[in-house]
């Protein structure tokens, strides 16, 4: 996963590169799932207060680096090879976080319980 090809054509401090880096961070850290749709160029531009052309350049960089795949009518999606988690798993994680926040539960407690449940489900509960 390299950025050299895209960076050659883009100034290091350009807004497009900044957007590219933010999306890359979301993808490689696992916060965007495989095949998950990215926002539209227009929405990203609106969210960040930049011109649509700037957001489009960032998407182009992501595509050049193989982080996303763009298909007509399907939009821009996270490339399965670049993602950490499948989109359905990530959706469940988000739902879990939403429920935990609504219940005002400490994140560490949720993570501990998740780990224990995981071990129990995997048949290693007695070791925990």
């Amino acid at each position: 996963m390299t950025t050299q090809s895209g960076l050659a054509a883009t100034d290091e401090a350009s807004p497009a590169l900044d957007i590219y880096r933010q999306f890359r961070g979301l993808i490689v850290s696992g916060q965007l799932g495989a095949n998950e749709r990215l926002p539209t160029v227009r929405q990203t531009a609106s969210d960040l207060g930049v011109a649509p052309g700037t957001a489009a350049r960032a998407y182009k960089l992501l595509e050049q680096d193989g982080l996303v795949v763009t298909r007509t009518a399907a939009g821009t999606r996270v490339a399965p090879s670049a993602a950490v988690l499948a989109a359905p798993v990530l959706r469940k994680v988000r739902d879990l976080v939403a429920e935990a926040m609504a219940a005002r539960v400490d994140p560490d407690e949720v993570i501990d319980v998740l780990r224990l449940v995981w071990r129990a489900e995997a048949g290693t509960g007695s070791e925990a």
Partner: protein, 341 residues
């Protein structure tokens, strides 16, 4: 005398009581009060949001609440005026059943206007949520499904009733024609019905309401966040506003549907025709072939009204407690931005 006794039967009393939409409103007020009581007992309360968030969202919540109250007042006023003050017999009040759809469309359009003109501004600090936001992103999924079911039921009812209707002397499809069985010489019974004359304005109103509601949900979802640290609070506020929009739209459709069902029930539940000097003075009994549906619609209409009024009352109650905006469920997006930077 026999008719009077029939009314005094328990079933007749219930039927008579529920023939008035205002009774449905009273029941809905009780139901909504109980729901709010349970919610307050559970400790569901709002916490104060950052001023920037409150300044953006509170006017929109208030507008939705005012629209809900206006819909209730207008519906009640229309029923009182048309039921007791203005006599419309002989006239075709084509707008009557489409009116709730128009009121709901207007209310949602006001909310949409506020979202677009006042609530959509460039971010104070750019926030990249990362995930795509669509009109479905903040909408309550069960509520949206219920609204869709109401829309489908309204369209099916309108089209089916329109196909069953017949034109009057001026070509307006407002009659249900019920032939008297085994009496070919006797003119069929003609009763006022939910025909195309009423149905086409309802269909137009339903489409308009669906489009305005979709536009409001979309505008609410796609606008940028104020700052990364307000994403959670804004997510809750957007979720609440989307719920109010869905409730307003669903209530408008349910009120229109209940009006249609009442008219279908009145027309199709059963008819008697008395001709002096014939049949030994006894009336001729005639029934519509779908009379069972008409009877069921008569019982279902008040239930629809109660649900619609409960939705409107909950939206108006939400306005009263919307001084602050609650940070609700997680928006992992905010932390996603932080992680990415």
């Amino acid at each position: 005398m026999l008719q009077l006794m029939a009314v005094w039967q328990p079933g007749g009393l219930v039927r008579a009581a529920f023939s008035q939409p205002l009774v449905s409103l009273a029941i809905a007020a009780l139901v909504a009060g109980c729901i709010l009581l349970v919610a307050s007992g559970r400790g569901d309360r709002e916490s104060t949001a950052p001023p920037a968030v409150a300044a953006r969202y509170v006017p929109e919540h208030r507008a939705a609440g005012v629209a809900a109250i206006a819909m209730i007042v207008l519906f009640a006023t229309q029923n009182v005026v048309l039921g007791y003050i203005v006599n419309l017999s002989g006239a075709v009040a084509w707008w009557r059943h489409a009116a709730p759809l128009a009121w709901a469309s207007l209310g949602v359009a006001v909310v949409l206007g506020l979202v677009v003109l006042r609530g959509t501004r460039p971010p104070e600090s750019p926030t990249l949520p990362g995930t795509r936001r669509t009109w479905l992103s903040f909408g309550p999924r069960p509520g949206l499904a219920a609204g869709l079911v109401a829309l489908i039921a309204l369209v099916i009812t309108t089209v089916a009733a329109g196909l069953a209707s017949s034109p009057d002397g001026e070509g307006r499809f407002v009659w249900l024609v019920i032939p008297v069985p085994n009496e070919a010489d006797i003119d069929p019974i003609r009763v006022v019905f939910f025909g195309w004359a009423y149905g086409i304005p309802v269909l137009v109103g339903a489409v308009l309401l669906a489009v305005v509601a979709w536009a409001a949900l979309r505008a609410n979802a796609v606008r940028p966040y104020v700052r990364p640290d307000t994403v959670s609070a804004e997510g809750g506020a957007r979720r609440d506003l989307a719920q109010s929009v869905v409730h307003l739209a669903t209530a408008g459709m349910l009120l229109a549907l209940s009006g249609a069902w009442r008219l279908i029930s009145d027309a199709g539940s059963g008819s008697r025709l008395t001709i002096l000097g014939q049949n030994d003075g006894d009336p001729y009994e005639a029934a519509w072939r779908y009379a069972e549906f008409a009877v069921a619609a008569g019982w279902g209409a008040p239930a629809l009204e109660v649900v619609a009024f409960v939705l409107l009352l909950l939206v108006s109650a939400r306005m009263l407690r919307k001084e602050g905006v609650a940070p609700q469920s997680a928006e992992p997006e905010a932390r996603a931005v932080e992680a990415a930077r």
